[in-house]
């Protein structure tokens, strides 16, 4: 089994539109004063100082039998995963986190200044999410030169029948402790704003 590739520092453009959308802003409907916008964007900029985007990814061969998929020694039974991998002999496992500092900052102000907390929270969520787009693009760039690419769709544990318990298997394969992520007995990744996803690798 290969070692996962670790991205200790992912640099992303601020997904401002998605952050506003997550906060409930609707183009043409929501009206924000200049002052409120300035304050919001000040906090958004501050969030960037606390967010440490890291990622991790690994391409592994998969064996498929019936509705079960085997990645290395790990068997996973899921119709959803099987369908994702129907034209793939390989899978990309990946994870991303916004880091611990931002979570501490959010929890530090969630009682005293909830407005700030929810904005920080939205920035962290969207940035962590955008990491997956980044990882996907990064691997597509690599794969296209070897006549392969990733499926457009990605899924995560907890979707449909792709059970949340699989999070532990992915956690172990990706050695997520190396990028500062822990997993609880309930299969929750800690710190918050950490997530995993899988995509199929298909041939061109």
């Amino acid at each position: 089994m290969q070692e996962p590739e670790i991205f200790n520092q992912i640099n992303l453009d601020l997904p401002l539109e998605s952050i506003y959308k997550r906060l409930g802003y609707r183009e043409g409907k929501t009206a924000i004063s200049g002052q409120r916008q300035k304050e919001t964007e000040k906090i958004i900029n501050e969030a960037l100082g606390f967010i440490e985007l890291k990622g991790c990814a690994l391409i592994e061969p998969v064996e498929k039998t019936g509705e079960a998929v085997r990645i290395g020694n790990f068997p996973i039974t899921s119709k959803l995963l099987f369908s994702l991998l129907r034209n793939s002999d390989e899978i990309l496992l990946c994870a991303a986190t916004a880091g611990e500092k931002i979570i501490k900052e959010i929890s530090g102000c969630s009682k005293s200044d909830l407005t700030r907390a929810i904005i920080l929270d939205a920035v962290a969520s969207e940035m962590a999410d955008a990491c997956f787009e980044w990882i996907t693009s990064y691997y597509n760039r690599k794969l296209v030169r070897t006549g392969r690419r990733l499926t457009d769709r990605r899924i995560s544990c907890g979707f449909s029948d792709f059970a949340i318990e699989n999070q532990k298997k992915i956690y172990d394969l990706l050695k997520l402790n190396k990028i500062g992520i822990d997993i609880t007995e309930q299969f929750i990744l800690v710190p918050e704003k950490s997530a995993t996803a899988v995509l199929g690798v298909i041939k061109l």
Binding site: Q9, R26, R36, L114, A117, S137, R141, R145, R148, I188
Partner: protein, 800 residues
Amino acid sequence: MNAKNKINYLLKRKIVILDGAMGTELYKRGMPEKAVPEEWCLEHPGILKEIHSAYKNAGSDIIYAATFGANRIKLRGRNIKNVKQINRDLCLLAKESAGSNCLVAGDIGGLGVFIEPFGKLSFEEAVDIFKEQISAQIDGGADLFVIETMIDIQEARAALIAVKELCDKFTIVTMTYEAGGRTLNGTTPEAALITLQSLGADCVGANCSTGPEDMLKIARKLKPYATVPLAVKPNAGMPKLVSNQAYFSMKPKEFGAFAKDFAAAGVNMLGGCCGTTPQHIYEAKVKLTGKKPVKPFRKTISALSSARSFLFLENQKDVLIAGESINPTGRPHLQQELKKGKTALIGQLAGEQKQNNADLLDVNVGVPEANEERLMIDAISLLSRLSDLPLAIDSSSIKVIEKALRFYPGRALINSISGEEAKLKPLLNLAKKYGAMFIVLPIAGRAIPKTIAERKNIIKNILKEAKKTGLSVKDLIVDCLVLTVSSRPTAALDVLKTISWCRKDLKAYTIAGLSNISFGLPRRDIINTTFLNMAKKSGLSLAIANPLQKKKLIDRRAKDLLLNKKGAAAKFILHYSGSADKRIKYEPDKKLSLEEKIKMAVVEGSKDSIASLIHTALKAGKNPLSLMQDILVPAIMDVGKLFEKKEYFLPQLIASAESMKRGTEVLVPFIKKEKPEEKKAIIILATVEGDIHDIGKNIVALLLDNYGFKIIDLGKDISAQKIIAAAKKHKPSIVGLSALMTTTMVNMKKVIDLAHKERLKCKFMVGGAVVTKSFADSISASYAKDAIAAVHIAKELSVI
């Protein structure tokens, strides 16, 4: 004619044809998926030569040796150690196929790891790795170099510096852009172009990003800023997914049809990337036969860049602002941080300046007893990640400037180069080598020049030396040297005249640190702003100033003072002495009544003003209960409605709720005195066991508190037993439970089951990202889709 001259000759006469894809051609000819292409090519030289020859025969003027991934890092990962031999032999094979009329480019691809400041590999190590590859390709007879498929501008810089430090061969650099128009690391095409052409690339462009249609857009963006020819190598469209199978869809004729558009867009070198074949190249070549190339529109450019963005100095309508806060002079806190080797405060200062519309950031980290070189590199690393603004490297040390320019992932501004002989030539050489712009400081010795004529002479001398080094007037910005009017009455006039002369006679850009002008005088804000606007009228390009001074104020008294009019200084001081240096403050509309102002404070979420407004109202004899019932409660209800109609977004709702809470905290003691406390409905809130996400629950708690409920918030990751124990103790009307994960959502049921077992009468309300109405129904709980819905449900269930 050497290869470089030959390429330049070709570029004047035609659009140079590059080759097409290598990887996809090798797979077609049987290269196994897991093979190392470079190794496989050497094992199958016949196949490699067949592909090279096919491109040559299709019309390629330049073919790329198959050395794309032949660097130490990538080959080490595949257990191959003979990096030099592989590079040399692959170039030799390409040379054999090229014959005499076709040139061979040594091909440099990415290392597969990120380089500092964006990754762990040191910049110098990256340069060394590229040098190893390049020197072997020179041995193999490479006529030119192509650095391609770069996603990281810093990696492209490292490779380009490696080429330039080893030879003077023609070098093409092409970056790869995502669908959003930036590289994966966020660099815009214009920023990459400005950085790379100033660093010495002979041709810049894009490859592999996309199909021809989108790459045309990139070429059109680049042409106005290019001082060098442009190269593009689009894919044969983007791989399409049909029934979960992917393929490159664009046929050769369709690909070739874009060639004329590329020529019209000013592309000077055209080839193909993934999915293209010799037939694609042939079709493009046929369409370009006889087409005249479009030369770069300009020879020089006054522009700066960062790793992500760029700043074009030409045709600016307003004065650009250079943020000056990252400088320890007069900032003891920053001094202390820097002495400890810390740079965290720099990030904060950068954010504040960006917020205040700074256009670039000046970085000075010089403090006694600190390692300035290390601090400068750390600051650049941090700012390159946090900010998209270009940087001015501000140091008196040549060594620090050199390190900074080599490391900075953009086109920097040197602050500054004076006429001081010992430093002038070394600094100009650095500006040339790393393609930096520089600020000219019109000082030649220790003394500041007394006359404008002296200033002009120094500026002219520096420009003369700069031209000798290969730089031009477009690469420099003249510092107009602002002195204080209180000690030198003609100081402002001197600056204004210098600005005019630079703009009109020298055609040079200018910069001025405006705040010096008012030192020692009252109302410095008025003088500075007036001076800024006068300087702007004279043609000032950049100001080192507070961006708030951009407002269009010209104060008559300040203007007279600055123009050194007789008696103006005394009049100004007399008028403004004792007047406070006030900043502009928000003043609520005086037409509003006090009650309306309180209501507005809630509706607008003015957390800081509501308490004082309520105190004022109470002092004016307003009834506290009426303030609560007739003003605060309707105000927050209005906010709730605005949120439901999406006219407010979440931060507005929460800010209003927090204002309401602060207002309530002021009023409650007064209301209690007036009226015995009514029994409030109690609500217990908790995030269930195993779940650590609680921000949604905190929002619900705040809103419910606003609406008069007594909230007992147990926190997050709370077991069913603890929740039930609290319910027994406090006897709430409602227990609200939240969960964000499917795995923890099931614990809501455990709480409700336990409550039934304990025969508790309270009602349950549930919510959270994964919770649905059907799930809530299944556990006999009410479902709150958001905080406002929770308020409605709480009202219904508790009937208050």
